[in-house]
Subunit: 184 residues, 2 copies
């Protein structure tokens, strides 16, 4: 595993920058079955996933980065509300949510760049209410991997809609074997 | 599971149409670690995945659709060469591969539309060399879910590069728990 990369801010921003356009290309204008379909009772559809990403932009990533820089371990993060997306999305179309997400992400990345973080800043520590001590670089890496977790989930939720449509090919399609570890 | 959708050609084409732009948004211009990184020995990186999708456009989906329409079960499909992408990608950049994939997909969807398939055509049967009897609708549904399987794989392969970078958050990130069932 030694070949796995060290954290690099520019490389992390490269992923974060691309997520809104990726979701836009994947989801905008899709027929309703792909957007409304979920994996069964109390699971998320594409609409819920984009709403959840918006809540993260508003309340999680940059607010937590600021807590680390301003208060360190002295002030634990506020817990992430994993149900707030239900309010966030009420009455909105998927297209409005995609636009909101793109705007908020753009604003947050501008704010991140404005911090002009130096290598020593990335080692600064904060306190997660459940996980304990974390660093700023771990927070920023998690922001990017959290995006990828939800791309992973979206591909799985969409594929699920054709679970029976593919007939015997289901045995060959990895995404249909995924048990759904993409917990929000 | 009764709520899962029936196959619908327009809905399938809606997914197939979006995959090149999705991969383009996710991958084009990314720093090398995201494109070259894989999950360890003999696994695929982003470069390999796009090459594999190109091979599918050239040799699998539309050729098989034509075999079903022209020969039915009388002529089994040619097996899909899952290593042909090694030749396909030799000497090419990721950007060239993304362009090739987008062009081939566009040509194949134009050819699919030109077939002017009717509901009764979608029930026509062909013979898969390993899976046995399959229908045209199952082939087309599989084409779309195969795209989603590789989006699923790409998100997982990229996330893997930051497996250690996220620190204790790895416990919360579903994509890092995925065991890699996205067999090509």
């Amino acid at each position: 595993m030694a070949e796995l990369t060290e954290f690099n801010l520019a490389e992390t921003i490269a992923v974060l920058t691309r997520t809104p356009a990726t979701l836009n290309a994947l989801l905008r204008g899709l027929p309703e079955i792909w957007v409304q379909g979920n994996e069964g009772k109390d699971t998320w559809n594409a609409f819920d996933v984009v709403s959840h990403l918006i809540v993260g932009e508003r309340t999680d990533w940059m607010p937590r980065a600021r807590i680390i820089l301003e208060s360190g371990e002295g002030r634990p993060f506020d817990p992430f509300d994993r149900f707030a997306q239900l309010l966030e999305s009420r009455g909105k179309s998927l297209e409005q949510l995609l636009d909101d997400f793109a705007r908020l992400r753009r604003e947050n990345l501008a704010a991140l760049l404005a911090l002009n973080l130096q290598p020593e800043d990335l080692k600064r520590r904060g306190k997660h209410p459940a996980l304990g001590v974390v660093t700023l670089s771990e927070l920023l890496a998690t922001w990017a991997v959290h995006d990828l977790t939800h791309v992973h989930q979206l591909s799985r939720v969409m594929a699920h809609q054709y679970r029976y449509g593919v007939g015997p090919w289901s045995a060959y399609l990895g995404v249909l074997q995924c048990a759904g570890h993409s917990a929000p």
